[in-house]
C-alpha cells in the first residue's frame, strides 16, 4: 500500500502554470495523507524532470508516485518507465491530468487551482490503494496477414517477406494489382502503370515467404496481438489452378462471350463468363463468374460447356466448392483500398442520362492499350472519336451534401488524362477543365500542371451547374469565377472526377477486425500524425486508401511503414502484456454470463467446476482492459487491475 507517496507537479512550460498556480498546488500536496515529498518542475517529461522523480524515489524510498501533468494518453507510458528506472513498480503510478482537464479548458485561475487540487487529492487517494502489478509474457506467431492485393498490400507483403516473415496475402478478386492495374500511366512522371506494377506482382508470386490467396476473403478473426486466428474463405473459381495454364482458350470459346460486363474495365467492355481480368494477372489463372455462367445459373450450357471442350489442360471443374482455411498469424495489415463514388447521386451531372458522361477510371480503361477499345478514345454513344472533351473536377468531393473531403488525386489524374488524350488525339482537340481549385501538392505535381497549362486547354474556374443532353452532344453551364462570365460549353465527352469513398464493405470489415472508422467511413488511424499506420487494436495496421484517399506514392510509403510497424511485433519472440486487465473473484461470481455477452474481445468464458458451480474466467492475453465486463457485473466479482472498485471509489470520494 502506498504510504510513501511523492507528488510531482509539471508546469508544461506555461501550458499548465499560466492558469494553475503550480507552487500552491505543490505545497498543498504535502498536506495529504501518505505524501512525504512534493516537487514541481518546468518540464517533468524532460531528462531533468525524470531524474528529479527517480532521485526522489531512491532518496525517500517511495512506494507511490502521483504526477500532475498532461493526459495519461501523452506521457503515462514515459512516466511508467521513469518510476521503474527509479526502482519502483511501474503500476504504483497515478497521473492527475491538470492540463487537458484543467488548464487548457479553464480561464478562471481561482477555480482552476481548486479543480487541480481536487484532481491531485483524488489521484493521491488512488495511489494509496494501488498495488504493484507484473507484466506477463505472450509468445508471438512470427507470420503476418495482409488483406488487399493492391499496390499498398503488395508493398507491405513484399517488405514483410523481405524481413523473413511468412505472409498470407489475401485478395478478394481473382488477381492482385488493385486499382493501379487499371491505370494506364501514373502522374506526374507518366510511368506506365503496368510496367512499374507487374514486376512487383511477379515478385509476390515468386517470393517463397508469401502465400498468395486470391479470390479469397477473410471471414473470421479472433485472438489478439501476437496471436490471431484467421478464417479465410477461398471462393470456388471452378477452375483447377494447378492445371490452368492461363492460355485463355476458354475465354474466347465461351457461349457468353461479349455478353458479360467486365468489372476490371469498369463495365466499359464485355468479356465472357469465364475470364482473365487482364493480361498480366497474377496468378495467370481463369475464373468463372458464377452469376453469368450458364452451367452454374441454369445447370446446362448447350450440349456441353464450350470452355470444357476448349481447355486442353482439363482445368474446368464445375464441382469445385468454396473452401475455408484457418491460419495463425501475429499481425495484420489492412490495405483494402477505395471505391469511386457513384456520380448518379448528383443527378444534375447526368451520369445516368448519357453514355458520354463517364468517370476518370472509365476513361483510364479507354486510354489503356489493354482496355476494351485497345487504347482508342471512342465516344461510348456512337463509337466515334470525340472532337471535344470536358473534365469536371470535384464531383462529390468537397461537397457538404456528398463527400466533404478532398479526393487528393482528382486534379492530378485529370491533368494526366488531359496530357494522355492530347498525345493520342492531338493538341488541337478541344479540351476543357472545370475546377474548383487545382491542388497540385506533391513532388513534381506543380510542374506537371504548369506544362498542361501551356497546352491548348481551357481552364474554367467554377463548378458546372448542370450537364444536359442536346442533340448528339452535351452542354454544360459553367460560371467562370475569374472572368465573372457565364459560359456554355458544348462538348462530346464529359469525364467526371468522382470522390474517393470507402469500400462498400468497409463497415462490415471494420466490425470483423474490431477497428474503428472515422466519420467519413475510412478506417481510423490511432493518431493522425504520430501513429498514422496503427489502429487502436494491437497488432492491426492500415495502409493505403482504406485509411483515406491518397496517391500511389503515399500508399506505398504508408505500406512500407505499416510493414515496419508490424515487424516490430513479429520480430520479437515474446511481447509484454499490460497487466491492467480484468479478473474474476470466483467466490462472488454467480456465473450469470453477462460479462461474456458484453466482452467485445471474446476474452471471457464460463467454466463449469466439478462441484456443479459455474464462474467466469478471463483470458488475460485476449483482455484489452476496456472495463465493459466490470461495469456490467452485477455482483462486483469482476474487477480490473489498476482500476479496482475500492481504488476508484476512494478516488471519486476524495475528488468531489
Amino acid at each position: 500500500m502506498g504510504d510513501k507517496i511523492g507528488v510531482f507537479v509539471c508546469h508544461c512550460g506555461i501550458n499548465i502554470s499560466s492558469i494553475v498556480d503550480v507552487k500552491k498546488l505543490t505545497e498543498y500536496a504535502k498536506t495529504l495523507d501518505g505524501v512525504i515529498v512534493s516537487k514541481d518542475y518546468k518540464y517533468m517529461c524532460s531528462d531533468v524532470g525524470a531524474n528529479l522523480i527517480k532521485d526522489s524515489i531512491k532518496k525517500h524510498k517511495l512506494n507511490g508516485v502521483v504526477i500532475a501533468c498532461c493526459s495519461p494518453r501523452m506521457h503515462e507510458h514515459t512516466f511508467r518507465g521513469v518510476v521503474e528506472a527509479g526502482g519502483m513498480n511501474a503500476f504504483n503510478l497515478e497521473i492527475a491530468n491538470i492540463r487537458e482537464q484543467c488548464s487548457w479548458v479553464h480561464e478562471d485561475k481561482v477555480r482552476a487551482i481548486e479543480k487541480a487540487i481536487s484532481l491531485v487529492r483524488g489521484a493521491v487517494a488512488k495511489a494509496r490503494l494501488l498495488e504493484p502489478l507484473q507484466r506477463s509474457k505472450i509468445s508471438v506467431t512470427p507470420e503476418a496477414l495482409v488483406v488487399g492485393g493492391g499496390i499498398a498490400g503488395i508493398q507491405a507483403a513484399l517488405d514483410l517477406a523481405d524481413k523473413g516473415h511468412n505472409v498470407y496475402l489475401v485478395e478478394k478478386t481473382p488477381s492482385i494489382g488493385g486499382r493501379m492495374a487499371q491505370l494506364d500511366k501514373t502522374f506526374p512522371t507518366l510511368d506506365c502503370s503496368g510496367c512499374i506494377l507487374t514486376p512487383k506482382m511477379m515478385e509476390v508470386k515468386n517470393n517463397p515467404n508469401i502465400e498468395l490467396l486470391t479470390y479469397s476473403e477473410v471471414v473470421e478473426i479472433d485472438g489478439s496481438i501476437g496471436n490471431y486466428n484467421v478464417k479465410i474463405k477461398k471462393k470456388a473459381r471452378f477452375v483447377d489452378v494447378d492445371k490452368c495454364t492461363g492460355c485463355g482458350d476458354c475465354v474466347t470459346s465461351c457461349r457468353m462471350k461479349g455478353h458479360v460486363d467486365s468489372e476490371f474495365d469498369m463495365n466499359m467492355g464485355k468479356t465472357s463468363a469465364i475470364y482473365m481480368p487482364f493480361p498480366q494477372a497474377v496468378p495467370l489463372k481463369c475464373t468463372i463468374d458464377p452469376d453469368s455462367c450458364l452451367m452454374i445459373t441454369k445447370g446446362k450450357c448447350g450440349k456441353e460447356p464450350l470452355c470444357v471442350e476448349a481447355c486442353e489442360a482439363n482445368a474446368i471443374d464445375f464441382k469445385q466448392k468454396d473452401e475455408e482455411i484457418e491460419v495463425k498469424i501475429g499481425a495484420i495489415i489492412v490495405a483494402t483500398g477505395y471505391d469511386l463514388m457513384d456520380p448518379t447521386s448528383l443527378y444534375e451531372y447526368g451520369y445516368a442520362r448519357s453514355k458520354d458522361v463517364i468517370t476518370t477510371l472509365e476513361m483510364e480503361r479507354l486510354i489503356s492499350s489493354s482496355g476494351p477499345t485497345s487504347g482508342e478514345i471512342l465516344r461510348p454513344s456512337n463509337g466515334e472519336k470525340p472532337k471535344s472533351i470536358t473534365f469536371v473536377l470535384c464531383v462529390g468531393s468537397r461537397d457538404e451534401t456528398q463527400c466533404t473531403w478532398c479526393c487528393r488525386i482528382g486534379c492530378m489524374s485529370a491533368l494526366k488524362q488531359v496530357y494522355l488524350l492530347k498525345e493520342k488525339l492531338g493538341d488541337d482537340i478541344e479540351m476543357n477543365v472545370t475546377y474548383t481549385d487545382v491542388r497540385s501538392f506533391g513532388k513534381g505535381y506543380e510542374e506537371f500542371y504548369r506544362n498542361i497549362r501551356g497546352m491548348k486547354t481551357n481552364f474554367f474556374r467554377g463548378r458546372p451547374s448542370e450537364i444536359r443532353n442536346k442533340d448528339d452532344h452535351l452542354t454544360i453551364d459553367i460560371f467562370d469565377t475569374i472572368t465573372n462570365k457565364l459560359f456554355e460549353i458544348s462538348t462530346e465527352l464529359v469525364v467526371l472526377v468522382p470522390a474517393l469513398v470507402p469500400r462498400a464493405d468497409a463497415d462490415e470489415f471494420a466490425r470483423l477486425l474490431r477497428i474503428s472508422q472515422s466519420a467519413d467511413g475510412f478506417l481510423l488511424e490511432a493518431h493522425p500524425k504520430l501513429r498514422p499506420m496503427d489502429t487502436f487494436t494491437g497488432g492491426v495496421f492500415i495502409a493505403g486508401c482504406c485509411q483515406g484517399p491518397k496517391d500511389i506514392q503515399d500508399s506505398v510509403a504508408q505500406a512500407s511503414g505499416a510493414a515496419s510497424r508490424a515487424a516490430n511485433i513479429l520480430s520479437k519472440k515474446e511481447l509484454e502484456s499490460e497487466p491492467l486487465v480484468s479478473y474474476v473473484d470466483e467466490d462472488y461470481c454467480s456465473g450469470c454470463g453477462t460479462c461474456v455477452l458484453v466482452c467485445p474481445y471474446t476474452a471471457i468464458e464460463l467454466i463449469k467446476e466439478k462441484d456443479g458451480t459455474t464462474h467466469a474466467k478471463v483470458n488475460e492475453a485476449l483482455c484489452m482492459g476496456c472495463g465493459a465486463c466490470v461495469a456490467s457485473c452485477l455482483s462486483g466479482a469482476m474487477q480490473q487491475r489498476g482500476f479496482k472498485d475500492n481504488q476508484l471509489i476512494s478516488m471519486v470520494d476524495e475528488t468531489i
Binding site: C394, R398, E400, R463, S465, T481, N484, L486
Partner: protein, 162 residues
C-alpha cells in the same frame, strides 16, 4: 477603391444568425449558384456568388442598399446544387429581412405591399371583374379587405406602407 477599414467583419455573423443563414461561412466561391441561376441568365446585375462574397467580406451597406438582393426568384436551383450546402435562397430571404428592418426596401416591393394591404391581392377588383365572373356562373369576389389591411398594418415593418 474600397477602404478595407469600411468593411464590417461582423456582417456575416449577423446574416448567419438569421433563420436559414447559418451556412453562409461555408461558401468557397465555386460559382455553381451563378452557373445555374435563371435570373443571372437575363440580368448580369444579379450574381448570387458575388452577393455571398460581399457579405463574407463585410460590405454591409452596399449589400443592404442594393437592388440585386431583391431579384432572387426563389427557384431554389442554387440551394439544391450548392456543394457546400450554403442554402442561398434562405440567405437571400435573410438579407431582405435585414434590409427591410433597416428601411432599405426596393420600391417595387413597397408597391406590392401597398396593393396587398389595400386590395387583399396584387391587383384591384373592379365591377367589370365581378360582372365577368357572374357571366361564367362564378360567385363575386368581395371588395372589403379590412381584415387584410389590419393584418398587414400589424405585421409589415415600418416604412413599407407610407
Amino acid at each position: 477603391m474600397i477602404d478595407s477599414k469600411d468593411l464590417d467583419p461582423n456582417f456575416k455573423y449577423e446574416v448567419a444568425a438569421e433563420i436559414g443563414g447559418a451556412n453562409i461561412n461555408r461558401c468557397f466561391a465555386c460559382g455553381t449558384c451563378t452557373a445555374g441561376c435563371p435570373v443571372r441568365e437575363i440580368d448580369e446585375k444579379y450574381n448570387p456568388r458575388k452577393i455571398i462574397r460581399m457579405v463574407l467580406l463585410g460590405m454591409r451597406e452596399r449589400v443592404l442598399k442594393s437592388d440585386f438582393i431583391w431579384l432572387c426568384s426563389t427557384c431554389y436551383t442554387c440551394y439544391d446544387r450548392c456543394p457546400q450546402d450554403v442554402q442561398l435562397t434562405s440567405i437571400m430571404t435573410a438579407l431582405k429581412n435585414i434590409a427591410a428592418r433597416e428601411g432599405y426596401i426596393h420600391p417595387s416591393f413597397k408597391e406590392q405591399a401597398r396593393l396587398v394591404s389595400k386590395f387583399g391581392r396584387l391587383y384591384e377588383i373592379e365591377d367589370f371583374d365581378n360582372k365577368k365572373r357572374e357571366k361564367l356562373g362564378l360567385p363575386p369576389i368581395k371588395k372589403n379587405f379590412d381584415d387584410i389591411t389590419k393584418i398587414t398594418k400589424d405585421t409589415l415593418p415600418k416604412g413599407v406602407i407610407q
